[in-house]
């Protein structure tokens, strides 16, 4: 029979596996946590076999610890403070080495402890842990989520809207040099965006990590389980594909000749003005480090990359 609720025998077995007796956790509380985890994963009541697979794959010891902490068990809290609280603060320091995220970590710790009222009752954030990952990974992810959402909520600048109507190069009137550059840049943005959208999700992710988030090759490798040299190779490959795609679009769809195509690419390099605006936006919104925005680090690292590459693109 399909149900989110595990059988009594399964609960007993999982309870033993979780070593929940260390925290004197009532079996009923643990069973309720298992059911919550199942409801989180399955929209409709699962078949017993699917439920068994899910529950068997959970991080049961961490789930029992989270339940015990949420119930206020002193020994469980001591264990959490000893084993997991340092993870939280190390993660905060990694997100913002200047200490800007410590406050977030403190606030998160308060919620874990149940100091914050939720829907009229004090409930520990740990009761929202479902055991689908280890507790330490979950803590780091929740902290990262808080950080990003705070940064975005305090964002003061939005990117300039992209022009929807881009004049074609087939336009009969030859535009003035500056406006022509601008039009070519818009055209190039459009073709590059189209080319990116045709790449596989993993390639788009890799490009986004590198160009937008300014992760290092090693960090990207860590995120994707690749060696940094592999990341580098894949990035180079994706960039080549984009270039080829853009050239094809300009040639086949915009009916441009080689000289016009070259002009389009040159326009991007010559379009210093809008690049400055873009950088200024980033710098202005990122300048106070205390705001927790990562952008100043981004700009720094970009500058660093440019310096590292004498012939870098951002001339």
């Amino acid at each position: 029979m399909s149900s989110w609720r595990p059988s009594d025998s399964a609960v007993t077995h999982l309870y033993q596996q979780s070593r929940a007796d260390r925290w004197s956790l009532p079996v009923a509380v643990f069973a309720a946590a298992l059911e919550r985890s199942a409801r989180k994963v399955f929209v409709t009541p699962p078949e017993p076999r699917d439920l068994e697979r899910l529950l068997g794959s959970l991080h049961l010891e961490d789930l029992a610890l989270a339940c015990a902490c949420a119930s206020g068990h002193e020994g469980a809290w001591e264990h959490f403070v000893r084993e997991h609280r340092p993870v939280l603060y190390r993660a905060a320091d990694a997100i913002d080495p200047t200490g800007g995220s410590r406050e977030l970590a403190d606030s998160l710790y308060g919620e874990l402890f149940g100091l914050v009222e939720r829907i009229g009752e004090r409930r520990s954030l740990l009761s929202y842990f479902h055991g689908r990952s280890s507790l330490s990974t979950w803590l780091r992810a929740v902290l990262a989520q808080r950080h990003v959402d705070r940064v975005r909520s305090t964002r003061r600048f939005e990117p300039l809207p992209e022009a929807e109507a881009t004049p074609s190069a087939r336009s009969e009137e030859r535009p003035q040099p500056q406006s022509r550059i601008s039009e070519y840049v818009q055209l190039m943005r459009r073709t590059v965006t189209a080319a990116i959208s045709r790449l596989p999700a993993k390639d788009r992710l890799r490009l986004g990590y590198y160009y937008a988030e300014d992760l290092t090759l090693a960090q990207i490798g860590r995120a994707l389980g690749e060696h940094e040299a592999t990341v580098s190779r894949n990035l180079a490959k994706a960039r080549r594909e984009i270039r080829t795609d853009v050239e094809r679009q300009l040639r086949d769809e915009e009916r441009m000749n080689p000289s016009q195509i070259d002009e389009c690419f040159e326009a991007v390099v010559e379009d210093v003005g809008s690049l400055d605006v873009s950088d200024l936006l980033g710098a202005a919104s990122d300048s106070p480090d205390s705001s927790g925005r990562p952008g100043s680090r981004r700009k720094d690292s970009r500058d660093k990359r440019s310096k590292e590459r004498p012939e870098g693109a951002s001339a």
Binding site: G56, A144, E162, M188, T230, A236, R243, E311
Partner: protein
């Protein structure tokens, strides 16, 4: 306009276009819990693919993932060895040599001694070609070195394909280097940087199992290994590898616990069975794996570690129910050795290894 200038323009555009705060995909943003489950590979395949698609196109979720990555403790990831063009020639050579050595080092089925608990064992996929009744107490038990045999036997074609692809990639890369200065610059330090684990290992995928066999083991095993080593030397010139490797690839292997009567075996790649009477009867163990399982180690009658593709690590402490152990890398693991329920060392095909002393709560990388 030279190609490399086009590349520079593309780079500038990529920075600008990708930095736009735009979500091109309709769909739910990722919360911390889902992100954590995704990064540990706990999501179902369809859900994981949906998350990847969303994160690729959602500025907010990509930033979330980037922040999360910054909190991840660095674990060195070695480049797959056959990706190095200057070592590529060694792959088929070393594969063949290892297969030959292992074939000779292995005693015949009937004569193999029981595997000591601390030894590493890789289990060939049970093809179910034998009925349970054909696995009596006298059934063959693989010697410690058998895993590489199956591994190498299965992989030559795959490795050749990877090698060809790698060579092509490298050729293309070298041709394109003038047009890809940035990435050439970036790759140079990465390629030149020492990767100790890989550098010191024999340049072939089968290295890790051999290395872990050489890990601390009981004296009896050491003596047996010494004998095997001498056989390897003889074997080096025998030239019988392909036939032997093919023969070994289809031999159903088992992992034997220290008591000699408790055994586990991998069936159909993702299921595990256990016998408590030296293989006379088998009962299914509970394991939830979506990845192919490849190797196991049993330090006691109730503790067994199993590893597999994409960083799959499982352990049972009651003999029948395996639980997933978190592992920091998404990489194919090919061998495991364990001393108890807490301590184990796993190795990947490219020669790296990781050790845990707290049942996977933390891993340290090393040789």
């Amino acid at each position: 306009m030279p190609e490399r200038d086009h590349d520079h323009s593309v780079e500038r555009l990529l920075r600008r276009v990708l930095s736009d705060d735009v979500t091109r995909l309709q769909g739910e943003c990722v919360d911390g819990e889902t992100l954590a489950a995704w990064t540990e590979g706990s999501l179902r395949a369809a859900d994981a693919a949906a998350v990847e698609r969303h994160v690729a196109d959602c500025a907010r979720c990509r930033a979330l993932m980037a922040s999360f990555v910054r909190t991840t403790p660095p674990v060195p990831v070695a480049e797959t060895l056959w990706r190095r063009w200057h070592l590529a020639w060694a792959v088929p050579l070393a594969t063949a040599a290892t297969a030959v050595a292992i074939w000779v080092a292995l005693p015949d089925n009937g004569a193999a001694p029981l595997t000591p608990a601390q030894e590493t064992n890789t289990l060939a996929r049970d093809e179910r070609s034998e009925s349970p009744s054909s696995a009596p107490a006298t059934e063959s038990v693989p010697a410690p070195a058998s895993p590489p045999a199956s591994a190498t036997a299965i992989r030559p074609q795959e490795e050749k394909a990877k090698l060809a692809e790698s060579t092509n990639n490298e050729t293309r890369q070298r041709t394109d280097r003038s047009a890809s200065r940035e990435f050439a610059d970036l790759q140079a330090p990465a390629a030149a940087s020492p990767v100790p684990q890989a550098e010191a290992s024999p340049p072939a995928a089968p290295a890790p199992p051999a290395a872990s066999v050489a890990a601390p083991t009981p004296a009896a095993a050491a003596a047996e290994r010494g004998e095997a080593d001498s056989k390897k030397e003889v074997a080096a010139n025998s030239g019988l590898a392909p036939l032997a490797a093919a023969r070994r690839a289809f031999a159903p292997n088992q992992i034997v616990a220290a008591d000699g009567t408790t055994r586990w075996r991998i069936v159909s790649g993702q299921q595990v069975e256990r016998s408590t009477n030296a293989g006379a009867n088998w009962t299914p163990a509970t394991i939830t794996s979506t990845d192919a399982l490849s190797a196991a180690a049993a330090p006691s009658a109730i503790v067994c570690w199993i590893v597999g593709a994409r960083g799959a690590v499982f352990v049972t402490t009651d003999g029948t129910r395996f639980v997933r152990v978190p592992f920091p890398e998404i990489i194919d693991l090919t061998s495991v050795s364990a001393t108890d329920a807490l301590t184990a060392t796993v190795s990947s095909a490219d020669g790296r290894s990781w050790r845990t002393t707290d049942q996977g709560k933390t891993w340290s990388s090393g040789r």
